[in-house]
């Protein structure tokens, strides 16, 4: 692993860290426009983070030592994920862990966040945690199956190799398997990042909230870290989606030109994905909690179909 690779990886990580709040901002802005509102500035997330970082921490009396460790773990896991996943360069970064491993890193994040929700023993925390676990219980198989289908096509689960494979294959690499899998992963993206129709990040209404409920006891810099971590998680999902299924334009070498193209392409894809998320959020309503499993099952079935279609067709 040469110096350039290290530099590229660092660049990727910092890129992700920089961009993630922006994406959330963009989604908010896009939604506002579609609802003919002015909406907050796309930089609002940065401002929130900055404000939170400077505030003092108010913690529950019931909270234990774990409460203060969790934010670091979550943010750390996300940074680790940013390293594992190739962002704009399908370089050597994949060596650390393959696509299956990324699922587990996401799992670590979720596990810790849910434990945090249980700290303090507030009813909201418990509610958010239990609902989150219900969603994830079905999302995880979906993700793994989609990965399996992709791995079956490309013959590997190493992310950068997958990107290389599809990038080299170009548009003729598109197969029904791929579409089904990507659809499944898109739904899981909405579910995992607690967007409408699974969750409404905008409200603190207890009937609807999942993600906010878990963060309710956090404040100050801990809250900032958790929020940041969830921003990064959204970004990484988008990155995985785009780089695995439509990796065109990703830099295969380390030439400056390639890298620029890569950055541009990934930014474009991220923008598109955020807008599409915004579209989904504004055309759909939040679902009732116990109708969520149906949607999740749909995504699970999609991923299963993806695998089957590969073997049968």
């Amino acid at each position: 692993m040469q110096l350039t690779d290290v530099l590229i990886v660092i660049a990727e990580v910092s890129f992700v860290l920089m961009v993630s709040p922006l994406l959330t901002g963009i989604i908010g802005k896009a939604k506002a426009w579609m609802q003919c509102r002015q909406g907050p500035s796309v930089l609002q997330p940065y401002r929130d983070l900055w404000k939170l970082m400077r505030k003092a921490t108010v913690a529950s009396r019931e909270a234990s030592w774990l409460f203060f460790v969790i934010p670091y773990v979550c943010l750390g896991a996300m940074v680790c994920l940013a390293v594992m996943v190739p962002v704009f360069n399908a370089g050597p970064s994949g060596g650390v862990g393959d696509m299956v491993a990324t699922i587990y890193v996401l799992g670590l994040f979720r596990f810790m966040m849910v434990l945090g929700g249980l700290e303090g023993g507030s009813p909201f925390g418990g509610m958010g945690s239990s609902r989150e676990m219900m969603i994830s219980a079905i999302v995880e198989p979906t993700l793994l199956l989609s990965i399996f289908s992709v791995a079956a096509i490309s013959g590997t689960t190493d992310l950068s190799s997958i990107s290389r494979f599809f990038a080299a294959l170009g548009p003729k690499g598109l197969s029904p398997t791929l579409f089904l899998a990507s659809a499944a992963i898109f739904i899981s993206l909405l579910a995992e990042n607690s967007r409408v129709p699974f969750d409404n990040p905008a409200t603190h209404l207890e009937l609807t909230m999942v993600h906010e409920g878990m963060l309710l006891e956090y404040s100050g810099r801990e809250l900032a870290m958790m929020e940041m971590a969830s921003y990064v998680r959204l970004t990484m999902f988008m990155v995985i989606l785009s780089n695995v299924f439509f990796p065109w334009g990703i830099a295969l070498g380390t030439g400056a030109g390639e890298l620029l193209v890569g950055v541009a392409s990934i930014s474009l894809k991220l923008l598109l994905l955020s807008v599409s998320v915004a579209v989904v959020e504004s055309v759909m309503a939040k679902m009732r909690l116990f109708r969520l499993p149906n949607l999740l099952t749909v995504s699970f079935t999609l991923s299963l179909l993806a695998v089957m279609s590969y073997y049968i067709l």
Binding site: T57, C80, M99, V100, Y104, S122
Partner: protein
């Protein structure tokens, strides 16, 4: 030093311990007796290391037996499992001593006997010796678990005894058949008997073995004894039962299936095994989610892990059947690696659970909570165990489960597309199990250690002595160690299992990462380093903003003061998934209107019972039928001497007429 020294030491020390436990009645004698078993564990560990270095060791005792000479044998595969198991033994022995769970002469005696039988079963090469050790294991574990000798304990223990004995009967029949048909009494002498006894017979033998050993692993439908026994017996026994006993079972299963019988061309058999294992794992994870008693959660978690291991083994058989030696070897390696990891974290969790029970005097999740503040050390250690069993990086459970997933992803060598589908299905099942089980573990940890105490016992837990935590620490370290630096173990495992499936030396480690056939690798060390690095980054960023003071206030309560009732209960926590999988659980929910405390408040009583379909629809009808039949037969003993004489006459005449 003679080659027989270590093994004989390993086997004789527990005997000595047992004798000490019987002879010396004093309190101190227990110390010596537990030290004996710990020492024998150390001897076992040294021996297995020696075997790993110098190759298979085999000893034949001249003690006369009914059937040839007894022989013990330790091959590298056994040595690897034995090594970890022995380390666990040492910790459990220490735990039994420090936790004062095993201070009675009876428990010390039984502990030593149990250890002896497990060690013997693990190294037994002689069929008869294996059977004896195996059954002695069930017997001693039952007696050890049968602590208070109340009637409920007896029923729980009796279920265990009866079911495992039924399993043992199957095992005995299968092994006896192998022995008589091959004319060999030593497992190591039996090689690829399927050629000799034909595919049908070998399939039958393998199925019998799976069911037989499965009865100890909790394979459906033999699992019904597990939860009750685990919740009723001391964690010393369950720690050994769920780790060491399972190891023996899987080890022997692997040896016999792949080496003694050999499973070429057994497609249907492999698929059957996979299906059974998958059902077991699913059922276990579902049940683990809704248990109120931590020990029961852990019981089902053992069942789930064993299900996953057997599932991977089944996949290995499938690969073998299609002649894909290397994927088979990889799958087998993954399964055994998970077995080893399971040993470590399950022992850790069970002993931690026992400690919690003693500290809080409660083990009903509905009455626990908030222990992390009272017992920070225990909560940290238990968290490590929980993360490992939930297969989260960077702990050992994660690595082995990753390997199992990877093992299931090699569908190419399988020709028949319909059979191929089995693998993605297996992956789906495994993923579902993992997710649900993770929820169950999270529920276990979160509602035990976090939140607000739900009972007085949890409010003020008895402070632990350092010695009580000490036995758990080595296991916690092992969890991390096997997670980040498992290459030597993996390479040894790969080398050990390759010959079983006829693969030339399997290569699993590439550079710094576990990588098989260049299909995407995992660098556990790098990954954990990255995690650490990420946390460091976060920490630095935060530090950069200068330190802020932390203010402690009440939990936000929307204005109504919270008490121990106003938080999510374990039942409530499991409710959403319960609703999702309602078809599986079929919970019997009863909501009763209670007298109103005031006319503004409605009081409602909510009761939920999760039925046990296997007990209600399988075991109860069976026993009832058997008893009814027996009652019919019983009428023949009517008490009338004339009737009795009639039996004689009829028998005589019928025989004479029929056989003249």
């Amino acid at each position: 030093m003679s080659p027989a020294a270590l093994p004989s030491l390993m086997l004789s020390l527990p005997l000595l311990g047992a004798v000490l436990a019987v002879l010396l009645r004093s309190e101190r004698s227990r110390v010596y007796s537990y030290l004996c078993s710990a020492a024998s564990a150390v001897a076992a560990a040294i021996w297995s290391v020696q075997v790993l270095l110098e190759g298979t060791a085999s000893l034949v005792s001249d003690a006369p037996s009914v059937w040839g000479e007894y022989a013990i044998r330790l091959d590298p595969l056994g040595a690897l499992v034995l090594l970890i198991t022995a380390l666990t033994f040492a910790c459990v022995a220490m735990y039994a001593l420090f936790s004062r769970e095993g201070v009675t002469a009876r428990s010390a005696l039984l502990f030593n006997c149990f250890v002896l039988s497990i060690l013997l079963a693990m190294v037994a090469d002689h069929v008869l010796l294996l059977m004896i050790a195996w059954e002695a294991m069930s017997l001693t574990s039952f007696l050890g678990a049968w602590g208070a000798r109340e009637d409920e304990d007896t029923i729980a223990g009796w279920r265990y005894l009866a079911i495992t004995h039924f399993g043992a009967a199957l095992v005995i029949a299968a092994l006896a058949y192998l022995a008589v048909s091959s004319g060999e009494v030593r497992l190591s002498e039996m090689r690829g008997l399927s050629a000799l006894i034909g595919p049908g017979a070998s399939a039958a033998v393998v199925i019998m073995l799976f069911l037989g050993f499965g009865s100890k692993l909790g394979l459906l439908p033999f699992h019904i004894w597990m939860p009750d026994l685990y919740s009723r017996s001391s964690s010393t026994v369950t720690a050994l039962l769920s780790t060491a006993a399972s190891n023996v079972a899987v080890l022997v299963l692997v040896r016999v299936t792949f080496s003694c019988v050999g499973v070429e061309e057994q497609y249907a058999l492999s698929l059957t095994v996979m299906g059974l294992a998958a059902l077991t794992a699913l059922w276990a994870s579902w049940q683990a989610l809704v248990q109120r008693d931590g020990a029961r959660v852990l019981a089902f978690s053992s069942m789930e892990n064993m299900g996953l291991i057997l599932l991977t083994m089944g996949a290995a058989m499938l690969f073998r059947a299609y002649g894909a030696a290397e994927p088979a070897a990889f799958a087998l390696m993954a399964a055994l690696f998970h077995l080893i990891n399971h040993t470590v974290f399950k022992a850790l969790l069970l002993m931690g659970a026992g400690t919690v029970r003693r500290a809080a005097g409660e083990w009903d999740l509905e009455r626990l909570g908030g222990l992390a503040r009272g017992l920070p050390g225990l909560s940290a250690v238990f968290l490590i165990g929980t993360l490992s069993v939930a297969a989260l990086p960077p702990f050992n459970g994660f690595v082995s489960e990753w390997a199992m997933f990877k093992a299931l992803m090699h569908a190419e060598p399988i020709a028949d597309p319909l059979v191929r589908i089995a693998l993605p299905l297996a992956i789906a099942v495994m993923a579902l199990c993992t997710a649900i089980a993770a929820t169950a573990y999270l529920r276990l940890y979160g509602l035990t250690f976090l939140g607000r105490p739900r009972s007085a016992g949890a409010e003020r837990p008895r402070p632990l002595e350092r010695s009580e935590l000490f036995p758990l620490l080595p296991l916690a370290l092992l969890c991390i160690l096997l997670g980040v630096a498992s290459f030597p173990l993996l390479e040894e495992l790969a080398a050990a299992v390759s010959p079983l499936v006829g693969a030339a030396g399997l290569k699993v480690v590439e550079g710094s990462s576990i990588n098989f056939l260049h299909q995407g690798g995992l660098d556990p060390l790098g990954l954990s380093a990255l995690l650490g690095f990420g946390m460091l980054v976060a920490f630095l960023i935060v530090r950069a903003t200068g330190r802020r003071k932390v203010e402690r206030v009440d939990t936000w309560d929307c204005g109504t003061p919270l008490d121990r009732r106003t938080q999510y209960t374990p039942t409530g926590f499991a409710q959403p998934l319960l609703r999702v999988f309602q078809k599986v659980y079929r919970p019997q929910i009863e909501v009763r209107e209670e007298p109103r405390p005031s006319e503004y408040i409605r009081a409602v009583r909510f009761e939920q019972r999760i039925p046990e379909p296997f007990v209600d629809h399988l075991y109860k009808p069976l026993t009832a039928g058997a008893i009814a039949l027996a009652m019919r037969v019983k009428r023949m003993q009517s008490g009338s001497i004339q009737a009795y004489l009639t039996y004689i006459m009829v028998t005589l005449v019928v025989l004479l007429v029929a056989l003249r």
